[in-house]
Amino acid sequence: MSKKIIIIYASNSGSTFLVGEIIAHILGRKHQVVMQKAADTSPDDLLKYDIFILGSPSWSTPGLGEGFPQETMLAFIKSCAGLDLSGKQCVAFGCGDSSYTLFCGAVNQLEKFMADLKGTRLINSLRVDGYFFDLPKNIALVKKWAQALLAHIS
């Protein structure tokens, strides 16, 4: 049965956006998928979908430290405080660089956020290392993950 899925992303140099597009394309074969910037998303939007997928790069954030989600995703997370998403399914992805101390630290934060909202995690999160530095390898990795996710949802 076709499900309603929203991919909420934050992106700077574009890698998280591009990864989100690949995921949307593959899930879109069987489901209704919407991609939306975190900056344009309200907490109520989450309630309209069966599945929500969160994606963010990892950055050093003033006052917080290294390995945090991009600022617009952080603001979105903050705006969702107190929301109960029991019964909703979710999963996270992110792009990072393993030469930094906390590789894809933002994904850990997204996982915690989803758990705090009582969402049910579908599969293990996707962490992409240096997306642009090896496009063929990383695009293949994202496709494989998205296909596994598709199989899990279906």
Binding site: S11, N12, G14, T72, F132, D134, L135
Partner: protein, 284 residues
């Protein structure tokens, strides 16, 4: 062509998070959509972090001297005006070392697309103030803060006679793709100022700065109104950076006014042999 056809064996050397990644992605998307290939397109870059882009796009490319990609592109266009010719240039490359060429390219209205990777810093040389660095910015060359006012390239180009001016934030890959295609379709000089954060050396113009402070020009904006365009080029600051096509009018391109180019490209015209023995006899 497929996206794989645009890949090269060269590994990217930009810093993680660099705005150049999204410009690269947007250009390749535009190339794929518009059908730019090795038989109809040539790329020229200057010197700077932006210039590395020609190493990562599987099209015919030239890397010129610092500040000189526009003259190289201009020569290319004259030799074969059927080509789509793109210039990749940085704000330092274009507006400092190449400022003279930029002004005259705008005045001349050659049918080329100038893409300015505007990170408001000299990134490749590790962070000195550029002509786009904001007043007060502390850099390695301005440790007490930059005392100079920045140049605004679109205002400069408009004053010099450019016929297509657009601005886009690098991180918006879809918008960037769309603008690049429109710029190339424009018959005349197209200037695209891409707001490209340098995550390593310019902490002021960050990704979040542009995400929070740019706004799209509305449908009611008249891009043919030169005075309105001047007013838009004056805007810069908190929530006040317009993006989109600021100005577009149709004026005869340089190439369209040269009779010798009307039948065929110069490159397709065989050189005519002349007997110069009489001249040689006269002077030797």
């Amino acid at each position: 062509m497929t996206w794989q056809d645009y890949l090269t064996p060269n590994k990217c050397n930009w810093c993680s998070g660099c705005g150049n990644f999204s410009i690269w992605s947007a250009f390749e998307r535009a190339a794929l959509k518009a059908g730019w290939n090795n038989s109809n397109t040539a790329l020229v870059a200057g010197i700077g972090c932006h210039g590395h882009i020609v190493n990562f796009i599987g099209l015919t490319t030239f890397e010129g001297l610092h500040g000189r990609p526009i003259p190289v592109a201009s020569g290319l266009k004259m030799a074969n005006h059927k080509l789509n010719v793109f210039v990749f240039t940085g704000d330092g490359d274009c507006l400092a070392e190449g400022g003279n060429h930029f002004i005259h390219a705008a005045r001349r209205n050659q049918n080329i697309t100038v893409i300015i990777h505007d990170n408001a810093i000299y990134g490749l040389t590790a962070g000195q103030a550029s002509p786009r660095s904001p007043k007060g910015l502390k850099t390695k060359s301005t440790p007490d803060g930059n005392i100079e006012e920045p140049i605004h390239p679109l205002r400069l180009a408009l004053a010099a006679g450019a016929t297509f001016l657009a601005r886009v934030y690098a991180g918006n890959i879809d918008e960037c793709t769309d603008i690049l295609i429109k710029a190339n379709k424009h018959d005349g000089l197209a200037v695209v100022q891409i707001l490209q954060p340098c995550v390593t050396f310019n902490k002021e113009y960050s990704h979040i700065f542009y995400q929070e402070n740019t706004y799209a020009l509305g449908d009611d904006y008249d891009a043919t109104d030169k005075v309105a365009a001047f007013v838009k080029t004056m805007e810069w600051g908190a929530k006040q950076i317009p993006v989109g096509i600021l100005y577009q009018v149709q004026e005869p391109s340089y190439e369209s006014q040269i009779p010798q180019l009307q039948k065929r490209a110069l490159v397709a015209t065989a050189a005519q042999k002349q007997n110069i023995s009489k001249v040689l006899k006269k002077y030797l």
